[in-house]
């Protein structure tokens, strides 16, 4: 390798000299280059300024609570994976297990009783059709700096049902049961809340 090729290779390492991630051998070789080359010293100075400016300017706010709520919704909405041990069990074993459960159920008379669904409505799941009857739908854009706990408190206060969302950009749809003459008041209350950037009533479909 010629000296000029060697120096070019070392110049190519300067960005990682600046961020401090070179190996000890590489670092020493680059420092030797810096001692003998004015061009390398000028490039180093430029790259150091570039790094400072990039770090200062590319700092972005992260989705935070909204992103976490969305992730929770995603993990709850995906099908539960079957553990490997269950998947690998022989088919006759599963048949026997199912038969055993059926016998036990018959013995205790479970099949004689019609089950009643008392499952509470979970936040983030779609409410049943009956729950949306007589309710007004609203679409809310959550303020970027709002905490999800503030939104939750507001929804509880208004006895609102979450119909959809939050989306990646912080939009939720809610259903609120209120007398027709109070729809405007509810909308005003939503729009004046600091956690809500914008609220609008949407037509029920």
């Amino acid at each position: 390798m010629t000296d000029s090729n060697h120096d070019e290779n070392l110049m190519a390492l300067l960005p990682w000299y600046v961020n401090g991630t070179l190996t000890e051998d590489e670092r020493q070789a680059v420092e030797a280059l810096l001692q003998r080359s004015a061009e390398a010293r000028a490039t180093l100075e430029t790259l150091q300024t570039l790094q400072t400016d990039i770090k200062a300017e590319l700092q972005e706010p992260v989705p935070g609570d909204l992103g976490w709520k969305r992730l929770q919704k995603s993990i709850h909405s995906q099908p539960t994976p079957i553990p490997k041990t269950q998947r690998d069990r022989p088919i006759w074993n599963r048949f026997l297990a199912a038969a055993a459960v059926l016998i036990i159920a018959l013995q205790v008379g479970l099949l004689l009783k019609t089950p009643t669904d008392t499952t509470p409505q979970l936040l983030g799941t779609k409410p049943g059709t009956e729950q949306l009857q007589d309710a007004q739908l609203y679409r809310l854009v959550i303020a970027p700096d709002a905490r999800w706990s503030e939104v939750e408190a507001l929804l509880l206060e208004l006895n609102a049902q979450l119909v959809d969302g939050p989306s990646a950009v912080g939009v939720v749809s809610v259903a609120i049961k209120a007398p027709a003459d109070q729809a405007e008041t509810v909308l005003e209350q939503l729009n004046s809340h600091p956690a809500i950037e914008h609220a609008q009533a949407v037509r029920n479909e």
Partner: protein
């Protein structure tokens, strides 16, 4: 056992609180890289959700051969490239047209007026004008402080390619900045 290893073990055991701690610790890393790659906060949020979902579902596949940071950046890179491909398909363009190397708009003339008078936003503007592949290398080097072997592992490219991309990116970036800000000229 270090903190990250304990978190991964707990995530494998399906402890949601561990995923939350992991999310709080690493969402900035994932979102920042996705945003710099895609230049779109909505797409970046989508990618971040997909990455964290993959961590939840496939944490057991992490073999501790690389750092968690490199592992996450690598997943983010793949998800972001998938997102670019989906968007291109959605726009009815020929998928073969995707060119991650080319600069997005540096060939266009840069209007001084597009940048605010305080010079704020000039770095972001010139970074966004780079091609995706070059932008990723610059971001990982100067913002995330990654070594060039780490970048090569993240993007699954040879180390020499990392250096070449950096060399071209640096040239374009300085040319762009030089046209906008006196101190870079």
């Amino acid at each position: 056992m270090d903190e990250d290893k304990a978190l991964i073990e707990a995530i494998i055991a399906r402890q949601e609180s561990a995923l939350e701690s992991f999310y709080r610790k690493y969402s900035g890393l994932v979102y920042g890289f996705a945003l710099r790659t895609l230049k779109n906060p909505v797409d970046a949020s989508e990618v971040m959700n997909e990455v964290m979902l993959e961590v939840w579902n496939k944490a057991s596949s992490f073999a501790y051969k690389s750092s968690i940071k490199t592992w996450l950046l690598s997943i983010t890179h793949h998800k972001a490239v998938d997102m670019v491909r989906r968007n291109v398909r959605h726009d009815h363009a020929d998928e073969s047209e995707i060119d991650l190397e080319s600069s997005d708009s540096l060939s266009c003339s840069l209007e001084q007026g597009e940048i605010s008078s305080e010079n704020s936003g000039h770095i972001k503007y010139c970074m966004d004008a780079l091609g995706m592949a070059q932008r990723q290398v610059v971001y990982l080097t100067f913002f995330e402080g990654c070594s060039y072997p780490e970048i090569a592992a993240t993007l699954e490219i040879p180390e020499g390619t990392v250096k070449t991309r950096m060399m071209h990116a640096k040239k374009l970036l300085l040319a762009c900045l030089g046209r906008l800000i006196p101190k870079w000229d």
